[in-house]
Amino acid sequence: MEALLRELHEGPDGIPEYRDTEISGADLTIGSAADQRIQLLGRAVAPEHAVIRKSGSKLELSCRSGERVRVNGEPRSSSKLEIGDVIELAGHQLTIAEAPGGFDVAIELRPNENIDASEFESAFRTDLGQTWLSKRPAAWMLVAIVLIFGVVLPVSVIVMHHAQREVPAWVPGDDFWNSGPLSPAHQQAAGVRCDTCHQEPFVRVQDEACQSCHKTIHDHVSPEHLALTQLGPTQRCATCHREHNEPASFLVNSSDSMCIECHQDSTKKFAQLHVEPVTGFSAGHHPQFKARLLKPTVITAGSTFELEWKTWTRRSSNRTSSSRTPSTSIRIASCAAATASRSIVRTVIVSSRTASTSSRSRWRIAAPSVTS
């Protein structure tokens, strides 16, 4: 479209002056920005306010959304234009005139001479708030990303696991909630299935989850003995065996402090159960090792006698069962001549039998040395 823009000014002596500009291009853009074909200044003028286009032989004016101009005094957002129509915008007047030869349209512009400098400033985008930068959409976008990885994917994967559906390994799921590496053995056993151990949401890992794999592990203190103490209910496995910790080897806590925590004031805490206090593992802090839980039975055989030491433990695989088996029995042959001093009994281990269920019992390795 070829357009002729005639800008009319009042000269110094009241004589009108004009300046002609030829504009060519598809659209005749009007606005306050510097790249508009017709740049009009003023607060009421948007950077891109309106466009005049040729449709067929007619001219058509359309405003950007939310913007208005007055066409022949009527506020309009779009209008067909005829010769003689007057468009008004922030005090500027554009009149459609008869186009001379070679032009599609001629426009007479009477600019608003009363535009002051402050309105002039609004022709430029001088603040970051006027650009595409925006805090709110950015905040929503970031929240959405966190939502997808923090909630949507984990919950979907949990639901699919419940429905026994296969989830490809590359899909990030509830392992995104992992608070630290698992110990290698647990990692191998559980993989990405958090519910292997965390069976109930919002409930701490229960011993059943541990014992579903660790079938032959015994209690540190039997419930019967525990009932005699003031230690309260049985500690969970995870009270001492803390997972998702760095380093992963910390799972088996070998520091003295864990033992000492309970054993240091045993006289108070252990009540009827007589266990001497332990304040460390060095001399003077740890009582002499004794086979306290082995019960001796005297078996006389002719002139000599034998002591059979038995310890009673539960069948570890079945917690509710009350049936008991002697898990360890160590038979000690002692030769003690009746005439000899009775103060010293020399012991010789003659046989060590262990029941199958107690093959991992610590008493197997701790051979008692008996003095009386």
């Binding site: 402050s118 400033e121 930068l133 970031l142």
Partner: protein, 290 residues
């Protein structure tokens, strides 16, 4: 004056608060490690985490407080001072809470978002301490509106003077004024991008970066001036165009400095909201898989 007092508010009162908080946190951290290594799961870890979470909520609340103009709950200046010091302390407290452990997980995501917020805050603090002085020096004590008023007058004067000169000079000057860009997009504002053009003779528009091309164009016409009055007009025009160039430089610099003064908020605020959400998930997910 705000910027000078921000860090020294009431004898840096909140610096001491923060240092006190850090000492408490350090003691909490150091008392861990007997039964299990330092991490967020010990009772000390829970306490450190709670302090951190409360701090994050309170630090976010600055955005609410500064909009409550009739609030009597401390001054905004005091709040901002505390915001800076306690925000810095949060960086250390959260690190101690995490026990220096990181991984590809939600918990570290929340930590990283917090780092982004605090780092952008440091950038903002630097801007607030440094830029206002440079900005007012650039404006020579005036306001941006005064610079625009000056530019507006120079535009008007050079336009009318150019019309008294040869037609190609009139076109060149009028087009250079019309096609002068200031500010614009993010890049143009932050790096003083200049997409100005002017119409040189009969040709198509040519680049007019920093208005130098149009000044040169008019200056080239000066030796060829036929009449004394023409030469005087051209000389006067060059003076106006050079003054215009100087004003435009100042305005561009002002836009750039103000842009850098504000740009960090476009990171600080949105990431804060992402952090609040990630923090909530961090806490909830910890107890889902307790």
């Amino acid at each position: 004056m705000i910027h000078r007092n921000l860090l020294l508010f009431r004898g840096a009162r909140y610096l001491w608060w923060s240092l006190g908080l850090l000492v408490i946190s350090g003691v909490l951290y150091a008392t861990q490690g007997k039964v299990q290594p330092p991490n967020g799961g010990t009772w000390q870890g829970y306490v450190l985490g709670s302090i951190g979470a409360v701090l994050i909520l309170w630090l976010t609340f600055l955005g609410v407080r500064k909009r409550r103009y009739n609030s009597t709950m401390g001054t905004v200046q005091g709040w901002t001072s505390a915001h800076v010091y306690l925000g810095t302390a949060l960086l250390i407290i959260a690190t101690l809470h995490a026990g220096f452990q990181v991984g590809w997980n939600l918990h570290t995501l929340a930590y990283v978002l917090m780092i982004v917020v605090i780092a952008s805050g440091f950038f903002g603090l630097y801007s607030y301490l440094n830029h206002p002085g440079v900005i007012s020096k650039n404006r020579e004590g005036g306001s941006r509106a005064e610079l625009f008023a000056e530019l507006f007058e120079l535009d008007r004067e050079s336009r009318s003077l150019a019309q008294k000169c040869a037609p190609e000079v009139g076109i060149a000057v009028a087009s250079s004024i019309e096609r002068t860009t200031l500010g614009g997009g993010v890049y143009a504002q932050l790096f003083s991008g200049d997409e100005s053009f002017f119409v040189r003779g009969a040709g198509s528009p040519v680049r007019n970066t920093d208005q130098q091309a149009v000044v040169d164009f008019v200056a080239e016409r000066l030796p060829r001036a036929q009449k004394g009055i023409e030469a005087a007009n051209l000389q006067q025009l060059i003076v106006l165009l050079c003054r215009r160039q100087a004003v435009l430089r100042r305005i561009r610099r002002d836009i750039r400095l103000r842009g850098w003064l504000k740009i960090w908020l476009y990171f600080h605020i949105p990431v804060t909201f992402a952090l609040l959400f990630a923090l909530t998930l961090h806490i909830v997910s910890t107890f889902v898989y307790w």
